[in-house]
Amino acid sequence: MTSRELLALALIALPALAALLLLVAPSGVVPGLARLAALPPAALALTLSALALTAPSEPLIGDWLVLDAAGGLLLGVIGLVGLASVLVSPAYLATSSTSLVSPERRQGIYYATLYLFWAILLAVPLVGNLGAAWLLVEATTAASALLVGFGGTPRALEAGWKYLVLTTLGLGVALLGIVMLAAGIPAGGLGGLTWHELSTYSGGSETALGAYLLLLAGLAAKIGLAPVHNWLPDAHSEAPPPVSALLSAALLPAVLLVAWRCQQALAPVVGEQTTQTVLIAFGLGSLAVAVPFLWRSLPWKRLLAYSSLEHMGVIALGIGFGSPLALAGVAIHIVAHAVAKALGFYAATPLLGHEPQAGEHPVTGIARSKPLLGASMGISLAALSGLPPSPLFVSEVLIVAGGFEAGHPWAASATALLVALGFLGLAHALIETTVGDSPPREPGRVAGLRGVTAVACISVVLMLILAASAVMLPGSELVDALRRGLS
């Protein structure tokens, strides 16, 4: 076993072990143990990410374990967001009073489930088999549904139930696609569904296309791509803020990576253009559905949820275009979206403490009463809207340019138009949320604000680095590796 394989196994085992410990630990030691246990997996994830990204031409490709450039990107994102979500969780637990479980077991079960969810998420980019990837994605549903409904309020129960039923049904449809593929792979059975074996499918291109469509439709239900996105705004808005951050910044792109791997593996069988067109259609559909909602006054977390729908659409478009420029944009977009979106969701904890109505109503003029909170929310929203110098501006330009480069002028033009409309909607929300008319609010300290301010400072530095490094990506070895995938 190589050192990379050992590191990868340790990366999955550590948070899983922490989950078990947190479940049985006395409640007094749970918060400290949770914070301490977050550091090793995050450090390991970043190490593996660095290994994958500094040597993108030498991927690790096994039957059950892979580590390539795309997986490395996701590992870094999941590691960072997971760490931050654990560290900001005490503020959420201190400010919320309701729960799905008994008060005395609340902290232990929350952290154990959060760690379990994190462990499964970290495994998704590393897994080398489509069948095993499906199992992991399905397992994220069980863990994260509990977290979505963790607040125990009627709204949280509704959101958690919808999420559980819709994504499980969607994944059932995806599994039908996997079984269809398994029937036509010479290596045989579901165990032969390694990423590199998929291209050996010999059951005919028509059946392969049917299987690919079922797979993508099922995975789209989990990614939250339109038209199967109904659970997304509800789950993101009702989950505890640290969980919403993990859902949006880590879960959605991790499942999108599985769809990307399927697209690359099945392109030789189904036809590259056909596989890409399906992703472009999902991407444009998601953008078209999300943009009208970005123009409306929505509660903070619901606004961020529709922004997730928009950004997953942009990433799907970039993957669908598949050209070097578009893939450079995808790489930046995945990381920058994660940083900006996680910051936005983390800001929801102090926001709800300061303005309890923010869960169900739009908020205005936060910077007038809480300048640091308003600044953190403003940074998140400005970055998500693609306001220069946000790295999301650079990535969107690269993806649109990549669309023209790949010979999809109509889709690229539609993308540019929809992204511009989305920008206008979010820019309006940015002004209203931060410096709009402010109703009278109670002064006083708000729990979690210091942590969010620290995250905001780190996020600004990270995003500026990302925007600056974006110019080096087109034509780089990393983009070549993203184009090749695991072939």
Partner: protein, 175 residues
């Protein structure tokens, strides 16, 4: 639903050629019995005062499910399973599962719809020309049990909160 899964177990044991096949059949049996036990316990702990009325009348529901099954068997090309009849059976079961989850208002029936879809996929895995992988089949069984456990937690809490297991009460989140 349990009888259907146990029928599949019998079929799997009849076809079994290796210890791996027997283990996979065992996983399917375990899944069927655990789910049956869970749902039985759930129903006995949460007695509804009156049954949840279906959103769509039974005949219309049957018609929609049949139409969906016919559409799926027409739309989906040859899957490549051992027999075309098995393929049609798989697709019909998937359609019935989706229709059950979409058209029934009782939350428990929505979970039963999911289990129907999973039973269809178990049948498909049994009919693969080269057989399924034991590890994956064990994983699918474990995943479904986990999802069902979470569903049970939600179901009990929804029942306690709203006094009914009617999914119509879960429609407050709208934009």
């Amino acid at each position: 639903m349990t009888a259907q899964a146990l029928l599949l177990v019998g079929f799997a044991l009849q076809k079994a050629e290796s210890s791996g096949d027997i283990l996979a059949a065992g996983a399917l049996a375990l899944r069927a019995l655990v789910l049956a036990g869970l749902f039985f316990l759930l129903v006995s702990r949460t007695r509804s005062v009156r049954p949840v009325r279906a959103r769509v009348a039974p005949l219309a529901r049957a018609g929609i499910a049949l139409a969906l099954a016919l559409a799926l068997t027409w739309l989906v090309p040859v899957i490549g399973l051992d027999s075309r009849d098995a393929e049609r059976g798989v697709l019909a079961l998937v359609a019935f599962g989706i229709a059950t989850a979409a058209l029934r208002r009782a939350t428990l029936f929505q979970v039963i719809g999911i289990v129907l879809v999973e039973n269809a996929l178990a049948l498909a895995a049994l009919q693969l020309p080269s057989g399924g992988a034991v590890a994956i089949e064990l994983g699918v069984a474990l995943d479904l049990i986990l999802v069902a456990l979470v569903a049970v937690v939600f179901y009990e809490r929804i029942f306690a909160e709203f006094g009914t297991a009617d999914s119509a009460t879960l429609r407050t989140l709208r934009d």
